[in-house]
Point group: C2
Chain length 191, copies 2
């Protein structure tokens, strides 16, 4: 089979290499953080030859960008709990868990975004995608007649989620899950 054909086949060798390399990036990042992430360690852990990793991803930033882009490809969507408040609490619990995991891949990627413009751009794109998907929570609430159709979805989602990022990432202070729930309730009650 010619290389081109194999490369484009979903689930083929190229897809498998990518998935193995990204799993290794995820694990290395979680164990050693951004500062400890190296292409050599990713190659060793994934079992993919280091020249292949260098040729395809070029740098540590390239690996992180691809990790985020692979995440944006996936089929994630917010849980449907039957109410706006319940849906926002579920979203906030996911964010709270991701930011307080020790180690936290999300925290490592945010740190990386302050080191390289490529990681910053990839993170912005990743979040645009995630906030767009999360807007379904607002559309469902509109459809149920819970909130007006004119509701600003992004403003509502920012009200719910921003306090978690600010407290846990920028202020670098603890936040309980109960407090994360409370910010979801404040947002739900704001419309």
């Amino acid at each position: 089979m010619p290389d081109d054909e194999r490369a484009s086949r979903p689930g083929g060798r190229t897809a498998r290499v990518r998935s193995e390399v990204l799993a290794a990036v995820d694990a290395e990042l979680a164990e050693h953080g951004y500062d400890g992430l190296t292409i050599d360690a990713v190659a060793t852990r994934s079992g993919v030859h280091r020249t292949t990793v260098y040729r395809r991803w070029k740098s540590v930033a390239g690996l992180l960008v691809d990790l985020l882009e692979a995440g944006a490809d996936d089929s994630w969507e917010p849980a449907d709990t039957g109410s706006l408040e319940g849906d926002l609490i579920a979203v906030n619990r996911e964010i709270h868990a991701a930011l307080t995991a020790r180690p936290s891949v999300t925290q490592a990627v945010i740190a990386a975004s302050f080191r390289t413009p490529e990681a910053a751009d990839a993170l912005t794109q990743f979040w645009i995608d995630r906030y767009e998907r999360t807007a379904i929570v607002v559309r469902r609430a509109v459809d149920r007649g819970e909130i007006p159709p004119t509701t600003d979805a992004h403003q509502l989602l920012l009200t719910a989620t921003a306090p978690l990022y600010h407290q846990l990432v920028l202020l670098r202070r603890p936040m309980t899950r109960a407090s994360a729930d409370e910010h979801a309730r404040i947002a739900a009650a704001s419309v």
Copy 2:
């Protein structure tokens, strides 16, 4: 006059050197960002000998930490507009201006906090101080009978301010001043 005595006199040579060096750090950071900040450039701009800067501040991180600590010493307090909503709008407008200034010293210091633990600790301490000072907005509203005495001041301030930091620093997306005002209104209405 012995050096020790001179060093401890408020407004003396030591205080003047510190103020000149910190003004230079502020200007260099604003012009070139964290990546362009060097001790040599700070020494040249301030007119303070580079060996003095190296001896006293040791590193670029040391300069940033001192810049933040000097800021926390100052007499900043939130404007008293006569209402909780007005006070929160005034706070949010200050944050919005600081984060959207081009160049923004605040953005540069936040970026630095992801490079060195000293800058991260200094930023956390700086924000703890600022949020404590801003809590007077909540106490005044309690005294006026606008909100219950049991109001969680930090939760209220996070609801108002966090969306600005999340949107402008982490999501790296624009936010209008009108939208910053709106988040202050949402917070004021949440109690």
